[in-house]
Point group: C2
Chain length 309, copies 2
């Protein structure tokens, strides 16, 4: 299968480079990094060993071949680009793999390509772009893939999901295919909602937030609110997940700046809609009032006002 990578940053750059290194047919769309990557390829400094890989780089989507699979790893704040982009790089009945944060981010692609198979990818990875075409992979690397269906039920392991899983596995990527994407999206929000927002509002890292009693309690309250909302939306997350995620973050993760904190420090737009607002709206439709998440989103909107406008 021919792969397109849209958004060659910390996520798209890392996974795309893993595919390219293993001689998959991968085509990267780049913006400001195009000249550098076209000349020197991608460079990955990884806990599993560093490598360079020459890649097919493109500055314009119209120059790319029509691919079977598009990996979308843009920030969600750039999703308005997809309407023009996607049909240029992928067959109308191809496979789109959405490697983005948030809830229902797959629906954007589903609306643009109604005949395509949409797969959601949740990446459990510590990676950062530290220069043009240069990605530092510092922690983990696992990606969960699930087939998206609009009604939020379990799609099971579909043939398309199997094809992508097979390719990723063949390239040494730690993939876990899942039957119920929506459940997993909610589960990841349990971590993302408190840590992303609070790291920005309180100008701190995960370890700092966990070290202090009040902020740890606040994180846990927000986690429990997300879990309650997930249950209201038909995804049966257990309340015990909150404490186990906290302990896991304390013991197994390096001190970490969540993606929103990195975005904020670089004056990039914040993914408030994808991570917060779409969840708050979805929960409200099932009668769950997410007071804490809403307050955090409002604080983030206030702090991001100069950057976004």
């Amino acid at each position: 299968m021919k792969y397109a990578v849209i958004g060659t940053g910390a996520i798209g750059g890392y996974y795309g480079a893993m595919l390219a290194r293993n001689e998959m047919d991968v085509h990267f769309l780049l913006h400001s990094d195009y000249p550098h990557v076209n000349e020197q390829g991608l460079r990955i400094d990884s806990i599993n060993g560093n490598f360079n890989v020459a890649v097919n780089a493109y500055a314009k989507p119209e120059d790319m071949p029509l691919c079977d699979v598009a990996i979308v790893a843009l920030k969600t704040t750039n999703n308005h680009l997809l309407e023009v982009l996607l049909p240029q790089v992928i067959k109308y009945n191809g496979i789109v793999v959405i490697m983005q944060n948030g809830l229902a981010v797959e629906q954007v692609a589903a609306d643009i390509l109604p005949q395509a198979s949409i797969i959601g990818g949740l990446c459990f990875i510590g990676s950062t772009k530290i220069g043009p075409g240069h990605i530092k992979h510092s922690d983990f690397g696992m990606v969960s893939l699930g087939h998206y269906i609009k009604d939020e039920s379990a799609a099971g392991i579909t043939p398309e999901l199997g094809l992508v899983t097979e390719d990723f596995l063949a390239c040494g990527i730690d993939v876990k295919p899942v039957e119920n994407l929506c459940f997993l999206r909610w589960q990841k929000l349990v971590w993302n909602v408190p840590f992303n927002g609070l790291s920005v509002v309180l100008n701190s890292s995960t370890a700092e937030l966990l070290r202090q009693h009040d902020s740890r309690e606040l994180i846990k309250s927000i986690m429990l609110e997300v879990i309650a909302a997930a249950n209201a939306c038909g995804q049966p997350l257990s309340a015990s997940l909150a404490e186990s995620m906290l302990v896991n973050t304390e013991t197994n993760m390096q001190d970490y700046a969540p993606s929103m904190k990195v975005d904020y420090e670089h004056n990039r737009p914040l993914e408030i809609n994808a991570i917060y607002q779409s969840m708050i709206d979805r929960a409200a439709r099932s009668g769950a009032d997410m007071k804490l998440a809403k307050m955090l989103a409002q604080q983030l909107q206030f702090l991001s006002r100069d950057d976004v406008q």
Copy 2:
């Protein structure tokens, strides 16, 4: 009546100077400002006209005469000093006027001097200490006084309240005696709870917070939460107070850094217990869960951790 002023800052310095200027018998307890004030008196730069006044200044409470009235205008974070201080400066059956922020701040003095009359003062004033014994009075100046009783009901206009009111009025202070102190304390919290905390957490002034849509909505949500808690505690505040306070702040107040923001910028301890925790605890006892106020208090605790410890 002989007056003692404990805490000669923006509040105690201003009202004490107003009393002293009008030849009341006032005795000021000072700490680091003692040498300056002992030599040069107090200087007030006021919207109503600047003035200097020579005052009776003391560095130690044991040097002060026993007074009839003590005006307590310390930050609540220094209230642990009162247990030793108060009995040294005031008659056991005297009058204590508590000019502090928060809820049930009067109870501290009531516990120390069970025979004394405790009056709560709520100051609607823009004033700042800008140097030793030097206070800038930039806005308003009204003070509401109410007699404190522990059961939170209306004490009415008591003789002690009448005496203090008379003295203040005679010195040109705009005093309003109130029948129900507790009601007024809750009313003031409707403003203090959102603006004090958010100005610290979001590093902004009142006008900035009101200008942006999301932060204005958040302020209003917090105000409505305080109003609901007040009602649960038997103080019938109207929900319409939220919008009218917002409009009043927008139209009638200068852009303003709330006292907690000023404290934070000067690395002073924050009045989290007086303004937030005692209210949250009181509301919980009446079954009201103040989720937003609690989150704000937790954020403030996190931000203040280096300063307080």
